[in-house]
Amino acid sequence: MHKTVEEIRKSQGKLLVKNVKYSWDNIPYYKQKMKEAGVKPEDIKGLEDISKIPFLSKADLRHHYPYGLIATPLDKVVRFHSSSGTTGVPTVVPYTKKDIENWAELNKRCLETVGATNKDIVQVSYGYGLFTGGLGLHYGAERLGAAVIPTSSGNTMKQIKILKDMKTTTLACTPSYALMLSELMKANDVKIETLSLKRGVFGAESWSENMRKRIEKGLGLEAFDIYGLTELCGPGVGIECSEHNGLHTWSDHFIVETIDSEGNKTDFDGEGKGELVFTTLQREAMPVLRYRTKDLSSVTWEECACGLPHPRIGRITGRSDDMLIVRGVNVFPSQIEEVLMELKGVGDHYQIIVDRDILDCLMVKVEVTNEIFSDSISELITLENEIKKRLFEMLSLSVEVELVEPGQIPRPEGKAKRVVDLRKDM
């Protein structure tokens, strides 16, 4: 292993030791979890001991909603964000002033990595609010000294006008929104030559190489993948460099590991494949130790041609659970089932289909059983609308509902395939 890598990993170990002690002292639940696992802070002497620390899951965070895992007194907290997850209880993440500064710093580094400077004009078309995307990139760009245009998402025609008139050089948004901008430009005959875009930073959804090509061609820019999780801070955890061969994760702020489905560590000397597990190293308000992301990828410390000494994760290839990310919203099939089951005779045979035209679309097919069948068209349409309404209330996402004949949903080996994700090949 490269000498500097060894040094970096050694200093990661030091930060880890400190962070474990800090968590033990300040978060009763972490202390309890470690005790149950038979680990004390003094057992963690460096990076090599990390696998002794128990994992933290999304369920742990949700279980302690909203303030249960805060390590600092509440008066040190200056901000809350919340995950886009809609599984009943949201995941609330607190930030101290220092956490906000660090987060801004990470996003600044991400922007620098993709070539942005203080001369750039950065249009942030991520949503602003509880969602971390908007404010994360906003603070990063400001820290860089760039000029920020905080458009937030939506109002696409106006966004195109701003791109053009204000000569935006750097766009930050979800990849599907980038695609939507390009499609709308095409439809309105706005030529890419009239824009000044150089680069785009796109994240919060997984996207393919084909989609990258479409976005790059449609907007005339170089597209970079950015990685982040609300639980870790939001965007800024990892960024692609101009090599476009994995995303660098900031080694002074995060330790990234991989595990298999049983929870066994699969990375050795920092190289491995599996579910990504993150440990924060500098967070004050809510440090996380070995947080299971459920994102499947790989990690490598192999030297990158760009020269950045930070390990890279591969692009996310899937999920270890059945969670779907639709237009940036986390959707669990079980939530949809729950809604359907509330309506008599509805939930027995259904299928969830996710596709991507420009934006992701979620469709639920429901078989019309004898029990719910009515001779009245208006009653059937009422039922369809009722399902739509309830799904919207649960997911905050508009869902298409289609009533189909019994037997229309395929049942391989007698069991229906509940989820079909058609976005994979895009």
């Binding site: 019309v368 001779d375 068209i377």
Partner: protein
């Protein structure tokens, strides 16, 4: 009163043919039929010469259906007769939810199938005006 079977079908090519074949190939005659569409799905309402057998066939094919009662009226096949029946019902504040009509083998007669919100009252007022109500078609 006439028995009618309503069947739920997907709105796509071939579905009506498949449905009719299930019934027709087993010797059940469809006497009257109405097809309605609502976006991606549709509804077939039909009256057959052997509803019990038709329902057994549909059940066997795994389809969703429902048996219901509608009003069958024999009327003159001439201008104005449908309007007359509709007026009798509207005068009695009875609402027609849907209707379909067809001519018959009986000369100068047509059959009107009606779904109304108050079946008994409809029969009463129509009979009072001398309209003949059918038990089967």
């Amino acid at each position: 009163m006439v028995e009618q079977i309503s069947v739920f079908i997907d709105n796509r090519p071939g579905r009506l043919a498949e449905l009719c074949n299930i019934i027709g190939r087993n010797g059940v005659d469809i006497r009257a039929l109405q097809l309605v569409e609502a976006g991606e799905f549709g509804l077939v309402r039909m009256i057959t010469d052997n509803n019990e057998k038709a329902m057994a066939l549909l059940k066997n094919a795994g389809m969703s259906f429902r048996k219901g009662e509608v009003l069958g009226v024999l009327m003159e096949d001439k201008p104005g007769s449908l309007g007359l029946i509709a007026s009798i019902l509207s005068d009695a504040s009875i609402n027609i939810e849907y209707a379909y009509a067809f001519i018959t083998k009986i000369e100068k007669k047509a059959i009107l199938i009606l779904k109304v919100n108050d079946l008994e009252k409809a029969i009463k007022v129509l009979k009072l005006k001398g309209v003949s109500i059918l038990e089967n078609i």
